[in-house]
């Protein structure tokens, strides 16, 4: 588990981002216990933006987000998350794409 956390950080470190500080483009809605799809994001998100906090709720830190939309496809319709694109110019900036 720890090994994979280290690896994803190393991978994301290669990427270029312009983080829009204080304006996250994805928000997780308040919940008591996460839905199965929301919980799945802690493993399935390719940037590992989602994690379970001490209280068992799923939180998002969108700084490393590659804007792929996997979480939106899995969770927006059920109302688990609010998904927008970052403001123009912000977010991931692919050098190769």
């Amino acid at each position: 588990m720890t090994a994979s956390v280290v690896r994803i950080e190393d991978k994301l470190y290669q990427n270029r981002y312009l983080v829009d500080a204080g304006r996250p483009h994805i928000k997780v809605r308040q919940h008591q216990s996460p839905s199965p799809n929301l919980l799945a994001l802690t493993v399935v998100c390719p940037a590992k933006c989602y994690e379970v906090n001490e209280d068992g709720q799923v939180e998002v830190t969108a700084d490393g987000c590659m804007e792929c939309g996997t979480c939106r496809v899995l969770c927006e319709e059920s109302g688990d998350i609010d998904w927008s694109y970052p403001r123009g110019g912000f977010g991931v900036l692919f050098k190769f794409g």
């Binding site: 994979s4 690896r7 994803i8 991978k11 994301l12 290669q14 990427n15 312009l18 199965p36 799809n37 799945a40 493993v43 399935v44 390719p46 940037a47 590992k48 590659m66 804007e67 792929c68 939309g69 996997t70 939106r72 496809v73 899995l74 927006e76 319709e77 998904w83 927008s84 694109y85 970052p86 403001r87 123009g88 110019g89 977010g91 991931v92 900036l93 692919f94 050098k95 190769f96 794409g97």
Partner: protein
């Protein structure tokens, strides 16, 4: 700016958006293209292979200055199990032709080039601008867009939604639905850099010749998915993609899957010593013909990945995107030249033209394929690959076992894994879906 009125607004500067903007601008329309990235290409991810013919139709002399990596002379299809691959290679000197058929490209560079052509054709391209909402009149006709830049609505007769597979505008306006998890694949990719000579030597290439490997089998761990390796001039694009619904069901991590693919004994030596410089993720439309949404309405059309125009069987996406963008641009220019309004009725010309093109003909041909592969993924992506590997090893390993016994063992393994009925039924269903 806000007072200005455009013939067309194109949302997005990917393959379909650039093709649409170029087509309309070069026919004299007043076009505004909006792109949320810092530069065109900074948000775009693809494998990436470029099919020359579809670009040639738009920009005949693209080979003069487009940033192309390698032209492809060899294609390898691999079926993998954990330690082996069974492969079919196709290599032909015919591909060393004066105007090659397929190239590898790097999208950030290619899209910048395409965008320069769009500007040269006369379109206004505005980057770092996220379109937040479509502007509709009381009757529900699209009349322009709202952006995250200060200012009111930017008006246009028609908006071309080239916003990609994860486009928000069309779904928020309820023109189409958010793609279902079983209709999109999540692909992750790394860029591995190696000296040009090393790549040439490892793949048996000279000059700007290129090679492609596509691999299916146990690498996707029972999910419907595909791994790929594309040779660029001084780098290798290595990636793997599987259905989002299968990721959610199996709880496999995409980067662990990519790392395992990288470390597969057939792949590892090809990448040895490489320096990784980027990690990217992207969704790929996989729903095929049945997932195509409404393509036009009052004051709008949708093109490319946003319209799910992707041929998953042949792994063609960007050429369908480019072609749909071009056709949408031609349809809009034709309506404009007749001085007709951009109503749903008139914009149905786009769909009629697309129906006649290879885009919808190809997708219609494979309309049953996604459901077949997606619901039988364990058979097609684990069981059969393992059996194929066993059969191949049985065939080539010489150990004193009589050949007739080896053949019987191979047949018995097939029947044990899938039963006679299962084998026949899989074969028939595959044949029907292919037809």
């Amino acid at each position: 700016m806000t007072e200005e009125r455009f013939d067309a607004i194109v949302v997005g500067a990917g393959m379909s958006g650039n093709a649409a903007a170029y087509t309309m601008a070069s026919r004299g329309l007043k076009v505004l293209q909006l792109e949320r990235g810092e530069y065109p290409g900074s948000k775009n991810v693809q494998g990436a292979i470029l099919y020359a013919n579809m670009l040639e139709t738009i920009i005949p002399d693209f080979r003069d200055d487009a940033p192309l990596e390698r032209h492809l002379v060899e294609q390898r299809f691999w079926v993998t199990d954990d330690t082996s691959h069974t492969g079919m290679h196709y290599r032909s000197d015919d591909f060393n032709e004066p105007a090659p058929n397929r190239y590898t490209i790097i999208r950030a560079q290619f899209d910048k080039w395409f965008s320069r052509k769009v500007r040269a054709a006369g379109a206004i391209v505005l980057c770092e601008t996220t379109v937040t909402e479509l502007a509709l009149d009381a009757a529900g006709k699209v009349i322009g867009v709202h952006t995250d830049r200060a200012g009111s609505v930017i008006h246009a007769d028609v908006v071309v939604l080239a916003e990609g597979v994860n486009g928000l505008l069309g779904t928020r306006a309820r023109f189409r639905k958010v793609p279902k998890p079983e209709a999109v694949a999540l692909a992750v990719k790394e860029m591995h850099f190696l000296p040009e000579e090393v790549i040439n030597e490892r793949f048996g290439l000279t000059g700007d010749q290129g090679c492609v490997i596509e691999a299916a089998g146990t690498i996707s761990r029972g999910m419907a998915g595909l791994g790929f390796l594309y040779t660029n001039k001084e780098s290798i694009s290595l990636g793997i993609g599987c259905l989002v619904s299968h990721f959610a069901a199996t709880l496999e991590s995409p980067y662990a899957l990519l790392d395992a693919f990288k470390n597969h004994p057939s792949i590892r030596p090809l990448l040895a010593g490489s320096e990784i410089k980027e990690y990217a993720a992207h969704l790929i439309p996989e729903g095929g013909f049945k997932a195509i949404p409404q393509l036009f309405g009052d004051g709008w059309v949708v093109v490319g990945d946003a319209a799910q125009l992707n041929n998953a069987v042949h792994r063609e996406g960007s050429n369908l995107a480019m072609t749909s963008g071009r056709i949408a641009g031609e349809a809009i220019a034709a309506i404009k030249s007749r001085k007709h309004p951009m109503t749903s009725d008139n914009l149905s010309l786009y769909k009629a033209m697309l129906d006649k093109s290879f885009v919808l003909k190809d997708l219609r041909k494979y309309k049953d394929m996604p459901a077949l592969l997606h619901t039988n993924s364990r058979n097609f992506f684990t069981t059969y690959p393992q059996l194929m590997s066993q059969a191949a090893q049985n065939f080539v390993r010489v150990d004193g076992t009589p050949k007739i016994e080896k053949e019987r063992a191979t047949t018995a393994a097939l029947i044990k894994a899938r039963s006679r009925w299962g084998l026949v039924s899989d074969a028939v269903r595959l044949a029907l879906a292919w037809r």
